[in-house]
Amino acid sequence: MNAALDVRGLTTRFDTRGGMVTAVNDVSFAVEPGRIMGLVGESGSGKSVTGFSILGLIDAPGEISAGQVLVDGTDLRTLAPDALRRMRGRRVAMVFQDPMMTLNPVLRVGDQMAMAVRVHDNVSKRAAWDRARAALDTVGIPAAAERLRAYPHQLSGGMRQRVAIATALLHRPSVIIADEPTTALDVSIQGQILAEVRRLADETGTAIVWVTHDLAVVSSLADDICVMYAGRIVESGTAEQVIGAPRHPYTRGLIDSVPSLHPPGQPLPQIPGSTPQLVNLPSGCPFRPRCPRATEICATDPPLSGTDHPALCHHPLTEAPA
């Protein structure tokens, strides 16, 4: 099956005062239609920048310096600015972290959604509102026609995030990038949204990249998981492989520190230290200073081992049977 989204060697750099920061470093992954890929990492691991890089939404001083982003076989990186803009929202859409901020506070929900419809499709305003209403129905918003006339501040956080998701769905895109869309929500609302997203992926065949730091969320939602550390993908595989039999010591550490994946009654292990400053990245494996398995050889760049469930490590944990 052809991938809906195929990212190859994506690299994004920021020219900061402290030096060149490679926030996304040679990242490659693919997502097939109808599948959900969890992109997991700590704050500062480059996972959100990866999401924005896919849409080409990197502002100066940032720059996407290398790689391909194939959406249904079209490389977004080779498109002219206006052609790229036409892809956004139509073939590949995005949902943001904070639903309180993503909607324009002074415009009616319906006007904002209708604008998003009409920028790609030449339809009447009325038809655009009808499309918006249908989209709100799809994400399970009751009394959709009424909500369209509301302003964002009249809706709850969960409702606003559903509106954002509905907006992303307006053009039935092949790919949706969801940048921590449930982080700012109550746990109960979070559960509803996750169930909704799962259903949408199954029904519409949309490929979803779910960017998150929350391994518990991803383990229940995603089909595949990529773990990011210091701008690189250090491990990737199906959710069962990565959660059930992690190969990278960093993934192991992440899983161990999730309360719900850990036997109760014992102290929760944590990964010592914090994410490295990307400006002064140590040579070799960036996880080396925090890694319990690190040896001398880790000062050199780690190899990618395994094909089905690869990990970027000199000393991967128990070889997963291919």
């Binding site: 849409l55 939404l57 100066a60 803009r85 036409r86 892809m87 956004r88 929202g89 139509r90 859409a93 995005m94 943001f96 904070d98 901020m101 993503t102 909607l103 324009n104 506070p105 002074v106 415009l107 009616r108 604008m115 998003a116 920028v119 790609h120 302003y151 501040h153 954002a164 907006t167 992303a168």
Partner: protein
Amino acid sequence: MLGYLIRRLAQAAVVVLAMSVIVFVGVYAIGNPIDVLIDPGATQEIREKLIAQYGLDQPLWRQYFTFIANVAQGDMGTSMVYNIPVVDLVFSRLPATLELVFVSVCIATLIGIPAGLYAGYRPNGVAAKLIMALSVLGFSVPTFWIGMLLIMAFAVNLGILPSGGRGDVGSFLGINTSLATLDGWSHVILPAINLSLFKMGLLIRLTRAGMVEAMRTDYVRFARAQGLTEREIVFSHVLRNISIPIVTVFGLELGSTLAFAVVTESVFTWPGVGKLIIDSILQLDRPVMVTYLVLVVILFVLINLTVDLIYARLDPRVRLKGGS
């Protein structure tokens, strides 16, 4: 909405009343108009007769209540200098100031807001830096000096525009204004530019600041992620959000320009109310001062009310208190 309006108008009435007391006391404190108006050689008899005629022998509070009683009957008093009703005097000068302010506000808005939007959209570009530098000049160089430079350049050296005064008055839609004639425009354009520079600088900076901030918000990113064009993002999403502070400052500036266009009017000998009030202060023409200042207060109150109503239109989160 209606309740809100009624409450605001009641508040306005209180403000105007309080202001009239302050103005009356203040004007009383400045000096005795008789000393200025009367021929120093006049006899004591004539002097006392005049003082009694203007009611200046009465205690202050009685003068005030006489004034209020007259106002209640629609009589704002008579100018001591021109000896014509104050209302007629002020309203004979007001159209000149209104047209000057109107033109200058239009210039400031039509140039200031687009320039600010551009400077905020590309804040690091050369053009943006140039715009910002000019905006600093706009509100830090003294108005009278720029006014004189404009006269030097366009009236004296180039000789293409008149140096001062108001041009021919024509009639447009039943309103008598110099803006209806070409000669009127040639007279109004220099003082209007002069008067607009400060406001233009302010609008540029305000718009730019709002724009820079707005372009970093999530809703702009989200709009970009939907594939909206930059034009739609700026004009449909951003402009409305940043117009709230702009409207506030615009309103205040409009009021103060109308009330205190004095400097420009003096430089260009523009026969507006600003010139009238300066003259009346110099001659201690009390009724004119009091009437004018009360008019200014009413003006500010009305502008603020309008600004509040526009707020409620622009930002759905703003609720006008007092009656729904």
